[in-house]
Symmetry: C4
Subunit: 240 residues, 4 copies
């Protein structure tokens, strides 16, 4: 019995396993759509009731899925504390919390329902390749996260130094200037904050010349590691 269930839930190559997977995927998609509609203003009472009931059904099914996954797992604790185990838990947990204590403050936990979206990634062929690639460039990506953080800090401090007197309400402190640093170095540039002094503009010029590259290098690293991961996979297939 447990073996049979495992073949359905964990093995997505069997026919029944595929049906189960597609069913869960469609339900995740519908449940996220329901969440999105819920946030629309001016929903009729009828719509709200339908959405509430649908959410109840979703939570029940996801809860059964979660319990079953623990049940069929050879090592339940490993599953519970795995990445997907945590996601599966976070996707249903807020609902029960809300049920236990009907406090308005807890409504904020509803936002955790969006983590269900992460469950969708489970069903993708290329994901394995992505894991290999992530392993290859782990160290470089960490190095660049450190360098990016340092760069954002230096940019924030520098622009604070130049612009604080000219625009004290925007560049109030190094922390406030951090918002400018992030929006500028990622090249988003909303236009809500920008330097107006000559010094600040020249500083921005140098920060951008070096900084834009630093922020985009990790993406290039991941892309090239993914190409490498595919080659490794192809080599493995040939050697088989």
């Amino acid at each position: 019995m447990r073996e049979k269930l495992r073949s359905i839930i964990e093995d997505n190559t069997s026919k029944k396993g595929k049906v189960f997977d597609y069913f869960i995927q469609v339900l995740i998609f519908l449940s996220l759509t329901a969440f999105t509609i819920e946030t629309l203003p001016n929903n009729s009472v009828k719509t709200i009731n339908i959405l509430k009931n649908f959410e109840l059904i979703c939570v029940i099914i996801f809860s059964i899925e979660y319990v079953l996954r623990i049940f069929v797992s050879k090592n339940p604790f490993k599953y519970i504390f795995s990445f997907y185990g945590m996601i599966d838990f976070l996707a249903i947990f807020p609902f029960y919390l809300q049920g236990a204590y009907d406090l308005k403050a807890l409504r904020a936990f509803r936002i955790f329902r969006v983590f269900r979206a992460l469950k969708l990634i489970r069903y993708n062929k290329a994901l394995n390749r992505f894991h290999i690639a992530a392993n290859i460039v782990k160290e470089e990506v960490i190095l660049f996260l450190v360098i990016t953080s340092i760069f954002i800090f230096i940019a924030s401090s520098g622009i604070y130094f130049f612009e604080n007197k000219a625009q004290p309400e925007i560049f109030t402190s190094v922390i406030h200037s951090g918002w400018w640093a992030v929006v500028t170095l990622t090249t988003v540039g909303y236009g809500d904050v920008y330097p107006i002094t000559i010094g600040g503009k020249i500083f921005t010029f140098f920060i951008l010349l070096i900084g834009v590259g630093i922020v985009t290098i990790p993406a290039g690293l991941v892309a090239s590691a993914l190409s490498k991961a595919r080659e490794i996979e192809e080599d493995n297939d040939k050697n088989k």
Copy 2:
């Protein structure tokens, strides 16, 4: 006769085939230019008449081209339902619809004329290489489209959670917040919507740090696959 026509229409290495190809390319270009001029305000009646007549001539020629392509094709149905067959059809279809029912509502279909532009891609040497590359990275690109969609959804939900109370008319619902997510993650940053709360700004910081990379990785993947495709082509040429 049919063989001869095929050598002109389908074979773009023969001299007559080249002349035919260049003629169609120039006509596509002129017809798109005419479409562009048509949208200008304050066109004189004379200009409008010239453009209408030119469009009539273009449609007639493209229709003849379309019929001929079906006629010379060894497998007409394969051509009709191929990518270029559909484009060729979409490029003339709106005109006939407009002729049959002279309704204002149908004028919107004129926009389909722009699909003619896609016909221009047919005539490019490196296109074959692009097809090989697209095949290599198909799975990764799909993975990243899925991840990007999930990321845009999580970003929209998160910013809705932080900014909804502060800017209810902009971050009205998760769907409305989606506009912010797209404009921010692609680093366009028009500046029409941006977070103003501390929570929203910190959330944006983390979303940008991870998200900017995710959005630019597919471009890196395609670029590296194109390099690979060229190598494959070169290897094939050597082995010949």
Copy 3:
């Protein structure tokens, strides 16, 4: 005599050749600085006179350099119509035109002086590698320029269709909408033009998802071709 001059002007490995090269480079840099200062408002009469005289000296030296380069060249016509020959000519030509006809309309030609900046690239080691790389990816870059142009046209037509009624003074015609398409697809996003209708925003969403990649792929191609070019150079060095 001509041989000796050639060793100074064309050969930048000899000691005298290096001195000549550095002298020209410094002069280009100073002449561009002078041009920049000239555009500043509120220059004193004295400053303007100094700048005019310095420009006269620069043009004389660059003219002598140009004549000498023709004189020492083994094939003068090849030099004159080469990329650098044209740049060298454009860098001095506007001055003589200005001298011959002292018309205000011709002052616009002064802008051609900035082409002197391009002369500076001549003196760079890695330039050869760049030529090899440009040759490798020529076809792909052309393909992407064609695709980008088509994409910008389709984006312009589409947004015109969606936004023309809502913002007739901004999205007046397909040509006017082109400004939006360029600023959006390159992710600059000044914020002077952006869609406000639901249809326009959804259209922008799809255009950005596909378009941002298309615009950044050529840069990735050039970067990977430059890596390839370095490998080719290294292989050549080993085989020597």
Copy 4:
């Protein structure tokens, strides 16, 4: 004794060396946090006093570290004039200057304290790989810095030519237009300056089409060089 100290300070593989390293890292982090808090407005007198005292302790410890590093170094002068030696000096120097002359003008030097952040990079595994990569692409990166500079200059001159008459207070001179060139070519696009004339918009179109690629190519080069550097490291590990 000096040998023993060296094993603690310079060797970060021994247990005591690791403890020393972590201690310094944590102190750097805390000292930068203190600097950030110091810039916040409305700090209480008590907070300011705590921060001042903490800064004093930090400077004392960093000074001891600096002196010890000189003491244990086999070649003190090499350390003092090395990249990290200079950073270590700049991180404490402003404090002593401030102590000697209690002038308000010197308070600006406090900004140099942020250079402490750069000390944090020292402790990263992948840094060696980054040095190899930097060596590989040095020439190309310099070439692209030159090309980028030239491009920014030509863009500034061109937009000045087109927009100066229409927006004289923004595009006042080539130097003022440089701000637009930097913000546009890095695709930040704050929206504080943008062309409004037809000529300026068409010019921007061409500048963006070529320029966006030029600015992003160096990042691609570094990313691909880092992949190469990893391969070199792996080959070295295999040969051992």
